[in-house]
Symmetry: C2
Subunit: 549 residues, 2 copies
């Protein structure tokens, strides 16, 4: 069984945890106003038994061969396992699971515990024409773990979560060798006990694995300080049907093309990443997350650019545009009582006196981590840059709240869906000089596609680089109940197209999977090169068919 | 003609510049003591006409086809051009050129000025079975530009130095689009006029090109601050016989494997890198290079490790071991006069009183660059780390001298060779926990190979990373005049082997070329994968045969 057994089969997160919207009157008020939702609907009861799915085609004799070869305790084909491994956790996936119909479910779910198991799986899958979908935490939002057969007869989901050891820690070189199936919280817990952190916190952190991060080229909330996953991987092992590659564990070399960088982003299509040596860092002594309010997004984005180009090693920086700031301020507001009401009025008055319209402004959240003296020095440098934009510092309260809730927000999508709303996010990246262009074109395109219904589109900049940044956009609109997938696909196609035409990356950190393939900016030669690489590592085309390539 | 026409055909550097050893009495004294060299020999007169080389096989009719296709002014086959493009600038190359015999000289030297020229060259080379050796500044020290035919009938050296424009500068995104054949000093000069720097200063800086840096995965003296060339490249264009790849100009993406990282280190074997968008940085306001003297290499290396792992963004750091410190102190000493003699005595007495033996100690040179307040803050942090090792700060004098001479030292090799000495350098990298092991095994192996003659082997750490560092070793011994190449090859093979067995990278920044192929740590699967990649981009095997793959 999967170690992520606590994950809801029908939605996001731990099945014992629910986001209780009624505790957030601001959110209720916000969606009531924006989407004319009168009263909250009760969550429907999700019944696994009701799900209609493709029958398991794989004959029992073949299942028996797997059991004989790697052990019966590593082979499953019961309904819950098949449902959990049918697809990922995107809005499209959530809509489909709520429709109670699954078109493609894997025939068998295999839990290898070592490389030999994986090699045995390759042998049997080759013998019986079984497509292989490597599966970590299953949190892909680009259909990256969807149980597709390609041209094969059957489909096996290969769940890596039993390969979940920290094999060794080198406390001199500050690296740890970790198996691919280890979940984020377990990595941080075990490293934390030794005083270290990996520092990789993607939004999916609680339910995603090291192998998934590498395969999808994920990036975490603290990417400014620690880099994306590619900056954290020192060496790795990939076991492919064609053979095994283990890269050399050195900090840097000039020995031809970088094999790590071929496996990073390989999305299960080239083989199974089994293990990586990653950089670890002494856990920061202190965290300080502060929020600043700026006149508008143009000002805040420029301030962020200056900070990035001065290479100031803050731990996190998020620039929310006017719409995101409005949504977050509205959603974050609690029950009114006379005292907070008066304080709120006074604060607003002060902010207004500084030339900022609290109804139409932008915010930056900056996270500092380290020793006190480092934080002090960095904050001084940040304040110096910000000064020319005259922002108002809102103090550390919002930052504390954000740190507390940062992995909790994704739960909210299920609540929104319960109430007939569509929620999706998309992300891209570009250079600083093209940021405004890409930003406005993307937002306008979404508004254009959903011009027939109430629609909120808000964006933040969340990963900053020397030459550019990522844009992360959230879309909330009312669901077209007659064809929710079609409604989503129409928007996705249009936006993919707009992003490509505007010089943005089709993905900054979600990956390609199936959903971004039509926007992938490879020319013919790149496609042919990728096919050559795949053909060498996966000559029979067993690995994750239909994704990436 | 090559824009590097000023480079000596017989040795290192500008033909109008000579390292005058007589101005450095310390060097003379040092080699006199170490290698029993009594008096300096006069430099022989190098006469190009005396060189015996393979005849030009390529028929005039084919040369005519090239001239018709790309223009006669881009096609050369005169002696000087052929000599200059026969090989690189390693000790082995210098020995061979001094022997007045060149076994493999290119039949033709072509100077493309644009992509169309390159495509035409590919067409004609394919038609007439001509191997192609891409050539930038020609400073390879691993036989990376050697004019090999592989299985082809002829060999063309394709010199990129006429593709030398800065096409555009994006002063918002802080990037510049630069053609591959542009030399280091020209890049810095033109960027400098706009207030920027690329920050890439390999030892070969004065005579190497952007394309060469990318093809060989070079790294510069300021790599701690700016990263190796892979960290500076935002996107690139490679024109291969199989087709053209232009990567997307975004700061980061999750769109499968990183094509930049396939082209970086491709060593001309996959195609010709024609252009790259690179990150540029406002030129630092100030430089401060300071030297510290430590008790021994163990202490200084540990101090450097701590500094690297605290991610302190110094511009440069070099840790010299006891032998390198001894050599540099000896070589750097000037003519004695009574006053400097007394001051020197007093300084030595002070250093001794601090528990450091000036005859057997280690030094760290730290470079700081930036605004005054940044330098002040960084130096404070560095001093805090160093404090527990009780080093003696030697001030900024040695740093100023090093900055002044840093590209001048390679000239010294020719002087040493004039005096019957062999001088070579080698470099590797490993994790901090393996550094001492790799360091001592490498040095011991060299001493073992040359145990029959006086031999000096010294090492510095010059590129620092979170999880490890590079080791750069210089070897000086007396030349075996009967077989200098054989003498060198014996050492090279032994050390390649030792480095591999000890877990080091066969190259940190010199590349593979021919000289490191026998130490390349790819397994069968990696080799097969690289061959697949090459086969797609260069199906006829025209590109730089015998190098890397």
């Amino acid at each position: 069984m999967s170690k992520n057994y606590k994950m809801k089969w029908w939605g996001w997160g731990d099945e014992n945890v629910t986001f209780k919207m009624k505790n957030y009157p601001g959110i209720i008020k916000y969606i009531r106003e924006k989407f004319k939702i009168q009263s909250l609907k009760k969550r429907p009861l999700f019944d696994l038994e009701k799900i209609e799915m493709t029958k398991k085609f794989l004959p029992e004799t073949i299942i028996g061969e797997f059991k004989d070869k790697i052990g019966a305790e590593k082979c499953f084909s019961n309904k819950q396992e098949r449902v959990l491994h049918s697809f990922g956790k995107s809005y499209k996936d959530a809509v489909r699971i709520r429709s109670y119909k699954i078109k493609n479910a894997p025939d068998i779910i295999l839990y290898p515990e070592n490389e030999d198991d994986i090699k045995s799986i390759y042998e049997l899958c080759s013998k019986h024409s079984i497509a292989i979908v490597p599966f970590g935490g299953g949190t892909s939002v680009v259909s990256g773990v969807e149980a597709c057969k390609g041209g094969k007869n059957y489909c096996a989901s290969v769940d890596l979560t039993r390969m979940d050891k920290i094999t060794s820690i080198d406390s001199v070189s500050l690296t740890a060798k970790i198996q691919a199936g280890k979940f984020g919280p377990e990595i941080e817990k075990e490293l934390g006990e030794r005083g270290f952190t990996l520092g990789h916190f993607p939004q999916s952190f609680e339910f995603s694995t090291l192998g998934g991060w590498i395969a999808a080229r994920s990036s975490g909330q603290n990417s400014i300080l620690y880099g994306g996953i590619e900056a954290l991987v020192s060496s790795l092992t990939i076991v492919s049907p064609g053979g095994k590659i283990k890269t050399l564990d050195v900090p840097r070399m000039a020995c031809g093309p970088d094999f790590n960088e071929i496996c990073l982003g390989s999305e299960g299509a080239l083989g199974i990443i089994t293990e990586a040596v990653v950089k670890i860092t002494p856990a920061p002594a202190r965290q300080l997350y502060t929020m600043y309010m700026f006149k508008d997004f143009k000002n805040s984005a420029t301030a962020a650019q200056m900070l990035a180009q001065e290479k100031i090693p803050v731990a996190m920086l998020r620039v929310s545009d006017e719409e995101e700031t409005e949504a977050f301020l509205a959603m974050g507001s609690g029950k009114k009582n006379p005292i907070t009401f008066i304080i709120g009025k006074l604060i607003k008055k002060y902010i207004h006196s500084r030339g900022i319209d609290t109804k139409k402004c932008s915010t930056i959240m900056v996270g500092f981590e380290g020793e006190n003296h480092e934080i002090k020095y960095l904050k001084k440098r940040v304040d110096k840059i910000f000064k020319s934009f005259s922002p108002v510092c809102l103090g550390n309260g919002p930052g504390k709240k954000w740190l507390k809730d940062r992995f909790f927000l994704p739960y909210l999508r299920d609540e929104f869906m319960d109430n007939g709303l569509m929620v999706d996010t998309l992300e891209t990246s570009t250079t600083w000089s093209n940021l405004e262009n890409l930003y406005s074109k993307t937002k306008n395109k979404i508004r254009e596609v959903y011009s027939d219904r109430p629609c909120v589109v808000y964006t933040h900049i969340s990963h900053l680089y020397h030459e550019g940044a990522s844009l992360y956009t959230t879309i909330i609109t009312t669901q077209d109940e007659s064809d929710p997938v079609g409604q989503w696909q129409k928007m996705k196609d249009a936006v993919n197209n707009t992003i490509c035409e505007s010089g943005g990356a089709i993905s900054h950190h979600h990956g390609i999977g199936i959903d971004h393939k039509n926007g992938l900016h490879w020319n013919d030669e790149q496609m042919k090169l990728m096919k050559s690489i795949k053909n060498e590592l996966d000559p029979e085309g067993l690995m994750n068919p239909g994704k990436l390539i």
